[in-house]
């Protein structure tokens, strides 16, 4: 791949997904594009690029994004955002609900595109740790964890994770919530009680219209796989699914402002997030 070819595909990827690949990533991109060319039977970069550029199914786009992103998921991924959720967003929601006189206070969180469960279980740990003692009213919470792929949901329900998945879990939480099982780590079963795992297609209007009253939605590194029209559709479903003042968390390369202006961008101490 020449440098000009790299720039061509790099610029296209950035325009479509917000993922920026610097000049130093040429080899990284070249290797993955070559793999995708081999997988799709394209002999030249130009023919591969044009096929990607004009495909209507978005299938090869999803494959390429998969190849270019670290699509493995792990506990406590994108820590500054989680810190923001734990230390700024949770107290703010709890205090607001207390002022409204809600008791017990109920928090409803959605992990959209939860894959093998690392994100919703991380959120369960954070909620268990951070909701105690913030307000005088008792606090309960539920997490809806959805994915289109039933295989990954099945794996999530086993609560068994590899060393790689738990590498960023703080020591005190490791001791408290995980138990070694041979080469794997088993997560405490009680965390599963907070989470409802189920299959959901983010573009299924009927299913999406049933989602409501969420205080926060986590949809990190999912919208990068969608085309422009679908991305707007999903964003509007999320807007409808959020309670008034609810928050949405996207991946660090993603920007809701590029999708739709219906959310407010909120700059907090630890992260930039979006609010209804």
């Amino acid at each position: 791949m020449t440098f000009d070819e790299f720039v061509k595909i790099r610029d296209y990827i950035y325009r479509k997904s917000g993922i920026f690949l610097g000049d130093n990533k040429q080899y990284y991109v070249e290797k993955r594009v070559r793999d995708r060319m081999a997988a799709t039977g394209h002999q030249s970069f130009q023919s591969y690029f044009l096929s990607l550029r004009f495909e209507s199914s978005n299938k090869e786009w999803q494959e390429l994004v998969n190849a270019l992103t670290v699509n493995e998921t792990y506990f406590f991924r994108e820590y500054p955002q989680l810190k923001c959720f734990a230390e700024e967003v949770i107290p703010s929601i709890l205090e607001k609900k207390e002022v409204q006189g809600q008791t017990p206070i109920k928090l409803k969180i959605w992990s959209a595109g939860c894959s093998t469960g690392e994100e919703p279980y991380t959120l369960a740990i954070i909620l268990e740790e951070m909701t105690a003692g913030v307000v005088s009213a008792p606090v309960t919470f539920e997490i809806h964890a959805t994915d289109i792929n039933t295989d990954v949901l099945g794996r999530a329900k086993t609560r068994l994770y590899s060393q790689r998945s738990v590498k960023d879990v703080p020591h005190e939480y490791m001791d408290k919530y995980f138990r070694r099982r041979g080469q794997m780590y088993e997560l405490s079963p009680h965390l599963g009680n907070y989470i409802k795992f189920y299959q959901l297609n983010l573009l299924d209007s009927t299913a999406m219209e049933r989602m409501e009253n969420f205080d926060a939605i986590f949809c990190r590194n999912v919208l990068i796989y969608f085309d422009d029209n679908s991305r707007r559709e999903v964003a509007l479903y999320f807007h409808a699914a959020l309670a008034e003042g609810g928050y949405i968390f996207l991946g660090h390369s993603e920007s809701m402002s590029r999708v739709t202006p219906v959310f407010k961008m909120v700059r907090l101490k630890n992260a930039i997030i979006y609010q209804k």
């Binding site: 020449t2 000009d4 070819e5 720039v7 061509k8 610029d11 296209y12 970069f45 130009q46 023919s47 044009l50 550029r53 004009f54 495909e55 209507s56 422009d228 029209n229 707007r232 559709e233 509007l236 807007h239 409808a240 739709t260 202006p261 219906v262």
Partner: protein
């Protein structure tokens, strides 16, 4: 509820009722519904309802949507103009006849919008329309935009010739730079 009542709801209901009326009108998808949804883009005050109307019009996916939306490109409101471009882009090939006609407009700003729509298109005919712009349009900004997109979407010898020809038609240094960049992207330099 019939179309007339839905249109009234769209004007007089609260935000939730307007969104519900909008969804019903989308399902009807007839000319009255399309016109009501297009009017909503300029008359509505809620950004959420406006954005929902954009999504609904794209989903209706009929040439009549493109025909109704094209007038909004002349709006003084930047959001409305952008919404019209996004709808035309979202409609894809369904809007191609309207976009082709737009390229004949006397107003270079409208021709530039048409080029921007074609630049995001996923249908191959868009490439030949961009070629026509590069070969024939008299406005350097319109041609420069088309050159940039042709660099991304073009591949054939005719695309290369067309770009080289644009370099000969204009003396503007920015256009020459754009042509060089486009030729590099096609793999000709």
């Amino acid at each position: 509820m019939n179309t007339d009542n839905l249109v009234i709801k769209l004007k007089e209901g609260n935000e939730k009722e307007r969104l519900a009326a909008l969804r019903h009108l989308e399902q009807q998808g007839d000319e009255t519904a399309i016109n009501a949804l297009v009017d909503l883009l300029t008359l509505e005050h809620s950004r959420l309802v406006q954005e929902a109307a954009v999504a609904a019009l794209i989903r209706i996916n009929m040439p009549q949507v493109a025909e109704a939306v094209v007038q909004l490109l002349e709006s003084t409101d930047a959001w409305v103009r952008n919404a019209a471009v996004e709808i035309l882009q979202g409609l894809g090939e369904t809007a191609s006849d309207v976009v082709r006609d737009l390229l004949q407009s006397f107003d270079p700003d409208l021709r530039l919008f048409a080029v921007n729509v074609l630049g995001e298109a996923k249908y191959r005919k868009a490439v030949s329309l961009l070629q026509e712009v590069v070969n024939n349009d008299s406005n350097v900004n319109v041609v420069a935009a088309a050159v940039e997109y042709l660099g991304e979407m073009g591949s054939r010898v005719t695309d290369v010739r067309c770009l080289e020809n644009a370099g000969r038609r204009f003396k503007d240094p920015f256009l020459h730079y754009a042509v060089d960049e486009a030729l590099k992207k096609i793999g000709h330099m």
